[in-house]
Symmetry: C2
């Protein structure tokens, strides 16, 4: 493990104005570039992260949580911008399925994110200005490479578990593929080994919405003092529909009008679902960077684990000793169960240890983030079994 240029105490990041102060930050200097799939070497760069719980003496109880597209490191603590609870507090915390009284939980902001890790809003050392689109395009594997450097920095050889849903699940799968000897077990939830054409299409619409906003300024909005809020809000609104299900939208909103029982015959938010979506859009832009949105959607689009293995997914996991817990949700039409089954089939083909559950819910893709008792029971049970196998029976 390299030691040079590592700083692991909370500090101001290059984006001093925006960076959350309540995260840990590790900086990697010129001697430790991030070697990207694009061929570019990103250097210097930094990773912002949070930890919960205590690392045990033999450093065997670490759980890495990988966040989704619009998530961040604040998995189980109040978000510094929104002041809301951590995005996975139902899952992670004292006594929760991912029990911070038992496990040392690490969650880092992905590279190209906007909560303190290096990304398009970071200062480009060559220009002294924010990178904008000069930030290199990153992949899911690049995110995982950076996480592995963070894990090195923390002196952890093998993670007990890596868990996450959606884009987080893609990182989980990439961990299992790239570093099988470094992950005892993995929990890829509501994800797939590649992004479908329809999902790429939805992402492309979101990107076009951002880039159509004249305030985007070719990605130079930070330098030019503008903010493509409206474009990003439209992107978020469209994406948010894909995170829910028709049934859930019907249950929550149906065709209910706002404040009255009749149409206004106008373009106001007449229906409750319109008002809800507008709120989703406008609140999102308060906490998220438009260019990061472009980079992260792109990373998801590029993800295709089988492609590098002759199109045979099983080859990506050949001889793996890692234990897998794959979970899908019946109403998730962004990453339908069929795509989780492909993962399971590939793992079966290589005789991996894999458990699989499809959870019946109408909550759509976002179910992995929501109050799903069956999911909690599955995660708890899987981790209990794996902890026993790993010899983690006693609380630290």
């Amino acid at each position: 493990m390299a030691e040079a240029n590592l700083i692991s105490t909370p500090q101001a990041t290059p984006r001093e104005a925006d960076a959350p102060r309540d995260s840990l930050v590790v900086r990697f200097g010129a001697d430790q570039p991030l070697r990207l799939d694009s061929g570019v070497e990103l250097s210097p760069f930094q990773i912002a992260y949070k930890t919960y719980g205590q690392l045990n003496a033999d450093r065997s109880n670490a759980v890495l949580i990988c966040h989704a597209l619009t998530g961040d490191q604040h998995v189980a603590s109040v978000h510094p911008v929104t002041k809301k609870n951590g995005w996975w507090e139902t899952m992670v915390g004292p006594g929760k399925p991912i029990d911070t009284e038992r496990y040392f939980v690490i969650c880092s902001n992905v590279v190209s994110g906007c909560m303190g890790s290096s990304g398009p809003s970071s200062i480009n050392p060559k220009t002294g200005k924010p990178y904008g689109l000069d930030f290199p395009v990153i992949t899911i594997r690049d995110m995982v490479r950076a996480q592995a450097m963070l894990i090195d920095h923390l002196g952890i050889e093998m993670l007990f578990a890596v868990a996450g849903g959606s884009m987080g699940g893609m990182q989980v799968l990439q961990w299992a593929q790239s570093y099988p000897e470094r992950v005892f077990c993995v929990l890829p939830l509501a994800c797939a080994t590649r992004h479908s054409a329809q999902n790429i299409a939805f992402h492309e619409v979101g990107r076009q919405a951002v880039m159509a906003d004249p305030e985007w300024r070719g990605g130079r909005y930070l330098t030019e003092g503008t903010n493509p809020r409206r474009g990003l809000a439209v992107a978020r609104m469209g994406a948010h529909i894909t995170y829910m299900s028709d049934a859930a939208l019907h249950r929550k909103f149906g065709r209910k009008f706002q404040d009255r029982n009749n149409p206004t015959f106008s373009f106001d938010a007449d229906f409750e679902v319109e008002s809800y979506l507008r709120y989703q859009g406008s609140s999102f832009v308060e906490r998220f960077d438009a260019n990061s949105y472009l980079y992260l959607t792109r990373a998801m689009d590029y993800f295709d684990l089988a492609a590098e293995h002759g199109g045979v997914l099983a080859n990506a996991f050949r001889n793996t000793q890692t234990r897998f817990c794959v979970v899908s949700f019946t109403s998730d039409w962004l990453f339908p169960t069929s795509e989780s089954r492909e993962i399971v089939h590939a793992l079966n083909a290589t005789s991996a240890r894999v458990s699989f559950a499809e959870i019946v819910t109408d909550k759509g893709h976002d179910a992995f983030l929501l109050d799903e008792p069956e999911l909690f029971a599955i995660v708890r049970g899987f981790l209990d079994g794996a902890a026993k196998a790993r010899g983690l029976g006693i609380k630290e």
Copy 2:
């Protein structure tokens, strides 16, 4: 039938610069306002339309085609702007299922459209400028009221058939509800009696994309010499995804890269599906008006046939003598088969004559516009049977 102020020969419309010259136009003057659901009386107004085939001596062979959101009156003849074939030439024409050698086919641009019928881009006589958002919000029933006035103008008491898909299908259902004595048979395809919360949500994203474009100018872009092309293109891209199916997108595009086998690590249209969507967006704005897009999506959102009948759909069709041919498509997730079944159940509950077919296809919602031999056979067969019942056995 009122005769005043009726002009039915091709002529310049109020939007002289934009209006297609190859349509018929009927103008309704101050004595014939269009009484809208909003309570507003639209006057004067005009309807642009096309006809195909010959009206028979007893005026009993007229078929009204209702177009979808982005369609127009050019159902079976070259589009004046795009120079492409009519949007339903597979279905309508000599020897086609809706046979113009047998039937007199009428297709009119809906009120609030942008191909010659009065809409937000028409000149507001009170100001001498384009209406913009001062055009009254219209409903599906308003569209049908205007069509009924056109049918009056043409001296047709009873239509042999009314047919259409999607928003066209909504109009078809509205015809059957509003004027049961004036329609012998109807063919509502790929539609529903109300717009779902998810569909309203998708429409709202499209509207927000248009309205987020600074060139939209609060709807006054025609007066101010701007054009919200980018916003409208984003709206179209998003909507277009909903017209297809995951399976069709996978079959057509999969994860294929443009021109090469590797990612460019950029935000260019790397994947074929991105390039396809961008083309759909940019070509659409050449032929469509942004405000019309707002009005038409709004009309669809408001549509709810049962709502006015105590929530009991069957009451909307009580004692109807009209024959129904309801068609859905297995991969249509915008108007899934379950919603067509609701129509059928309601019609069964009122002992109506109804045939129903769900066609197996991966082409999604747009299947009704595409080469679907089973659809053609169903439409042809249903019309043949109805024509026999109507005494239309001999070709005119």
